[in-house]
């Protein structure tokens, strides 16, 4: 029973995958699970698909590309249950799913996530091994083919921001990129990170504004305002370059450049003292407020097909 699952706690990968199965079984008329590939160590990459009809445009949401950002995987799972349980009850969710498919990948980097549970809570990268290198893993959010290898990414395999030997060298990144390339009708791409409370849009690999700057900035600010309305959590909104600094090889830059206008990245709570170690009692408030921000973006996509 997916309703009995404790969404307000951090879980192992196996338990997250069991929860995905429970959501799928409870709401099988609209929820299915798609295997889009396997991680470097062979773990499955499951996308939860929400769909009520054929040939719909799609919206992509992912979390956990950086494994130590535990509140993101937890928020994604809560969101999955929210979407499934509210269809037919909530007017917004119903209208969204009557017009769009939603693809949600709660754990983009499962090897890293498992490693954070067993060995190193602060692990960020994938767990890929390359002969001749003494260090493990690549930063999967520096590995996309968008200004690959440029500023804000490291050529040092031991660095936490190592961009990898080539773009899409990481099977986890390639699996998502292949999925996007295989679905020409994806209208929105939202990637969930933590922490710092930011809502960002392209570009990061360069510091010029995207062609749709005004619209993305307006949508982002509306989303941040909606998010703030629940608990007063303040977000900064802007391009990656203006909210952090120039950083290349990121996912939303790539998706924007391949034509997905509504490409956003959230950095969830907090700005205070916990960062990656956000206490479990903040999972539900974080997920609830994030939902309000997500909803604003999804509404805009729905109304601007």
């Amino acid at each position: 029973n997916s309703g009995a699952f404790n969404y307000g706690a951090y879980h192992t990968l196996d338990n997250l995958y069991r929860a995905i199965d429970a959501i799928m079984l409870d709401y099988k008329s609209i929820v299915s699970k798609q295997l889009i590939g396997h991680s470097y160590e062979g773990r499955p990459l499951y996308v939860i698909k929400f769909s009520t009809g054929a040939n719909r445009p799609g919206i992509w949401i992912d979390a956990g590309i950086h494994s130590r950002e535990w509140v993101t995987q937890a928020t994604a799972l809560w969101t999955a249950h929210k979407l499934a349980a509210e269809y037919g009850k909530d007017a917004f969710v119903t209208s969204l799913l009557n017009n769009y498919d939603v693809f949600l990948l709660p754990v983009t980097n499962p090897d890293g996530y498992a490693f954070t549970h067993t060995t190193n809570r602060m692990w960020r990268k994938t767990r890929s091994i390359r002969s001749g290198s003494r260090c493990v893993g690549v930063d999967p959010n520096r590995n996309w083919n968008a200004g690959f290898g440029g500023p804000g990414a490291s050529s040092d395999p031991c660095s936490d921001s190592y961009f990898g030997p080539k773009a899409e060298s990481e099977v986890e990144v390639k699996a998502v990129a292949d999925f996007i390339r295989g679905h020409s009708n994806i209208k929105g791409f939202i990637s969930i990170h933590s922490y710092s409370q930011l809502l960002m849009f392209p570009y990061g690999y360069k510091c010029t504004k995207p062609a749709d700057f005004e619209e993305l900035n307006d949508v982002g600010n509306a989303a941040a305002m909606a998010l703030r309305s629940l608990y007063g959590t303040q977000y900064k909104v802007g391009t990656i370059c203006s909210t952090i600094y120039q950083a290349s090889g990121g996912s939303i830059d790539w998706t924007y450049d391949v034509g997905i206008k509504y490409s956003f990245a959230f950095e969830l709570r907090d700005t205070g003292r916990y960062g990656f170690l956000l206490p479990a009692n903040q999972i539900l408030p974080t997920a609830q407020e994030t939902w309000l921000g997500l909803k604003k973006i999804l509404e805009h996509i729905r109304d601007n097909p």
Binding site: G152, S161, I244, A247, D270, T271
Partner: protein, 97 residues
């Protein structure tokens, strides 16, 4: 209303050449990161100490690593140091009395 420094760190950054000094100056120019440079980056032979708010720590550390700039954590938690200092002042005032 007293300002607190919870989770803030002071990093000691050691640039190894002029390029890295320029990269540190670029970092200094990013006002939104709210960095407090205790030393201005000007000479590779002088370490640069920077107070970093908690919310910018992840970004700053990634920036330094990606530019291969050496750093160490000089103060792990600034608020703890301030609290300890306050505690010390209180106890020395008591002793004086």
């Amino acid at each position: 209303g007293e300002k607190t420094f919870i989770g803030e760190q002071v990093l000691r950054i050691k640039a190894s050449n002029g390029d890295q000094i320029v990269q540190l100056q670029d970092l200094q120019s990013l006002a939104h990161l709210q960095l407090d440079f205790w030393t201005n980056p000007s000479n590779p032979e002088i370490p640069v100490d920077v107070r970093v708010p908690f919310e910018s720590l992840q970004s700053v550390k990634i920036y330094l690593e990606s530019n291969k700039i050496d750093y160490s954590i000089m103060i792990e938690d600034l608020q703890e140091v301030i609290n300890a200092e306050k505690q010390e002042m209180i106890s020395s005032e008591r002793k004086e009395r």
